[in-house]
């Protein structure tokens, strides 16, 4: 956790405006190409909706979710892109015993496959269900969206943001937040009045604007508190507890053995007197 060195306002962030998404899935294809991910064999209607593949996986770091709903008696579609949220204070980085994840100063949360021991705690910890596992392999590793860190470092935009014709804007986090608020203010009838990702899990590097209420679209309700703080409130007590237990038990032990020592000494005195 390099929390101290990262200025979240300046981290590169995605603003995904789902009201502008056409569902073309260019982002999905661009992601596969840039990360050289295998195609998945899927069947249509295998998931909860029309989306394909049915879920993110070791081969699919991002995908467009389809959601149908009714509006004025008309069937409508909503789309949104699912990907790693690149949290400001990532749970995956906090729980990884070997520190294989870290939040880069540029923004993306990246994974060092050489350190990973494969405990999968990151998968349990991530509130968005993002890290995926190479279940097909005998010695598997974790796979997840890298935020195209190599591209971002070179001054480029991530593959999906480059490919997207309409919905993805990419830039510093506070610019994206400002832009999102501006859009909501400019067209209040068009937007649901919440920016998803602004405060979720302590703030994320992916911000969503939607037309429908978030829970109807399938966005999980997530605590506003940074997740690492939940475990840290217990873990920070560890050294103190360690020493307290040791000290208390030593004291008890000394006290309980005192009687024996006194008795022995007395016996020794008696021996001498003889």
């Amino acid at each position: 956790m390099s929390a101290g060195t990262v200025n979240y306002a300046q981290t590169r962030s995605f603003l995904i405006d789902t009201t502008k998404c056409t569902g073309c899935r260019g982002c999905q294809v661009a992601c596969k190409q840039w990360n050289q991910l295998k195609a998945e064999k899927t069947t249509f209607f295998s998931g909860e909706g029309y989306q394909n593949p049915p879920q993110m996986s070791e081969y699919t770091f991002t995908r467009v979710k389809f959601k149908d709903y009714e509006k004025h008696g008309q069937n409508e579609f909503a789309f949104y892109k699912e990907m790693c949220m690149h949290c400001n204070e990532p749970a995956c980085a906090s729980v990884c015993p070997v520190g294989a994840f870290h939040k880069t100063p540029e923004g993306p949360v990246v994974y060092d496959s050489k350190k990973c021991i494969g405990c999968r705690f990151c998968m349990v910890a991530c509130p968005f269900g993002v890290p995926k596992y190479e279940w097909s392999k005998a010695f598997p590793l974790v796979k997840k969206c890298t935020g195209c860190y190599s591209r971002v470092k070179a001054g480029l935009e991530p593959a999906c943001a480059t490919a997207c014709p309409t919905a993805i804007t990419y830039g510093s986090r506070d610019e994206m937040l400002k832009e999102a608020s501006r859009r909501i203010a400019a067209k209040p009838e068009r937007y649901y009045k919440t920016i998803y990702g602004k405060e979720e899990a302590g703030g994320t590097g992916v911000l969503y604007l939607t037309q429908q209420p978030l829970d109807e679209l399938g966005f999980k309700k997530i605590t506003k508190r940074p997740l690492p703080s939940y475990t840290w409130q217990a873990l920070r007590l560890v050294p103190g507890i360690f020493l307290t237990v040791g000290g208390t038990l030593s004291a008890i032990s000394w006290f309980q053995h005192r009687k024996d020592r006194i008795r022995k000494e007395e016996e020794g005195m008696q021996e001498k007197d003889k």
Binding site: I117, V124, G129, W135, A138, P140, P228, T231, I252
Partner: protein
């Protein structure tokens, strides 16, 4: 060939139950090999929704508190200096040693990259509960191994290590309690990160404290459970009088546990408690059968003298703990409207093999090492003086020559 024949003859003499355990261990080992050849995804029912399954829930999260007998009885007997409990210490240490060794094996099986396990020592992340637990488990397994060396060196007559281990008895007991306090509670800290996943019946900020308290009273119950079974099936002397001392300690810890649990439920929860009927039933079973019923049994007078009641109360506590750990690490983590995780055959075989290995090794160690026949007063702890450097007693200065 002769060595093999001796071993075969030895095995032929074993009880049928022991042979069955050997077969189960063999099957477990075979299944474990299959996991390494074909991979986790093929051999287990784990998937991206359920990255942790039976091996974490039982072989790690449950087995660690079940092996807590070693540190709890160590504190009660050595630190609190209740000398008469001494005969219970060694079996508990052997159980702990086996328990932790098997936890390590279970963990290695479950890791995707077991050959990199050493990375935990190379790259530290002190913010990770998993880091803390792995460090503690490594340290504590070492302590338990050293403690286990005690009967081993007694058996082979290694006098110097024996003397050393004897003087370290109390420091080890304290160290064991220090390390155990950390990792038993931190196993609860694991699930504090799952704030939107673990159900409110179990999720609360005091989860680590609850894990620690339940490990203590379960550890002591395990000692009762084991001593009762060993008396029943292995012809060892009846210890129910000593166990009565433990039954006086346990209800205090259980009482504190109940208070903490109720307080956390009432005041520290994050959301609705009884919205999922199945989870409510699991929670009720855990609390009634695993906590309240044995609590009232332990409080009663009859348990001081009644062996059967002691065994029953201890079994209930153990059942309650197992269910609690499964509730926290598996059932309570399943979201509504999700496909339910059921362990695969191979996963179950490995876990059965690990349990069988525990029983098997315990019986074998008890057979060949002085675990139960522990008489400190009858053992000769003098350093053998082969080089005649220490001097004969009576000749050296300082000691009165009475010889």
């Amino acid at each position: 060939m002769t060595a093999a024949r001796i071993i075969m003859n030895e095995i032929k003499g074993y009880h049928r139950f022991i042979k069955l355990m050997m077969v189960l261990v063999g099957m477990g080992a075979l299944s474990a090999m299959i996991r390494f050849i074909f991979g986790l995804g093929v051999t287990t029912n784990l998937n991206d929704t359920y990255p942790w399954g039976l091996w974490i829930s039982f072989d790690v999260v449950t087995a660690v508190p079940l092996a807590a007998g070693a540190f709890t009885i160590g504190v009660v007997a050595h630190v609190c200096h209740i000398k008469k409990l001494e005969p219970l210490v060694r079996p508990a240490i052997v159980t702990g040693f086996l328990g932790y060794s098997l936890v390590c094996i279970g963990l290695l099986l479950d890791l995707g990259q077991p050959q990199r396990g050493i990375n935990v020592l190379r790259y530290w992340n002190v913010h990770s509960p998993m880091f803390e637990v792995s460090m503690c488990v490594m340290a504590y397994t070492t302590v338990l191994t050293l403690e286990f060396l005690h009967p081993v060196s007694e058996k082979f007559g290694w006098h110097i290590p024996l003397r050393l281990l004897r003087t370290l008895e109390i420091p080890f007991a304290i160290l064991a309690a220090m390390i155990s306090t950390l990792h038993q509670s931190t196993l609860g800290t694991f699930f504090l990160i799952a704030v939107d996943k673990l159900h409110n019946l179990w999720y609360n900020p005091l989860l680590p404290l609850q894990f620690w308290l339940s490990a203590i009273f379960t550890g002591l119950s395990i000692v009762i459970f084991e001593a009762s079974l060993v008396h029943k099936y292995m012809g060892q002397p009846d210890e129910s009088e000593l166990l009565a001392t433990l039954t006086r300690i346990i209800p205090w810890v259980m009482g504190v546990y109940i208070v903490v649990k109720l307080y956390a439920l009432l005041f520290l929860r994050h959301g609705p408690l009884f919205d999922r009927p199945v989870l409510t039933a699991l929670f009720a079973t855990e609390m009634i059968v695993g906590v309240f019923m044995p609590f009232s049994l332990y409080l009663g007078k009859r348990i001081k003298t009644d062996k059967r009641l002691q065994l029953r109360a201890a079994s209930m506590v153990i059942f309650g703990l197992v269910l609690n750990r499964f509730n926290v690490s598996m059932f309570g983590m399943e979201q509504a409207n999700q496909q339910i995780y059921v362990p695969s055959l191979l996963e179950s075989l490995v876990t059965i093999g690990i349990i069988a290995a525990h029983i098997l090794f315990f019986v074998l160690i008890a057979k060949y090492f002085p675990i139960f026949e522990h008489h400190p007063e009858a053992t000769d702890y003098t350093i053998p003086d082969r080089f005649r450097k220490v001097g004969r007693p009576g000749e050296g200065h300082g000691s009165p020559s009475e010889a």
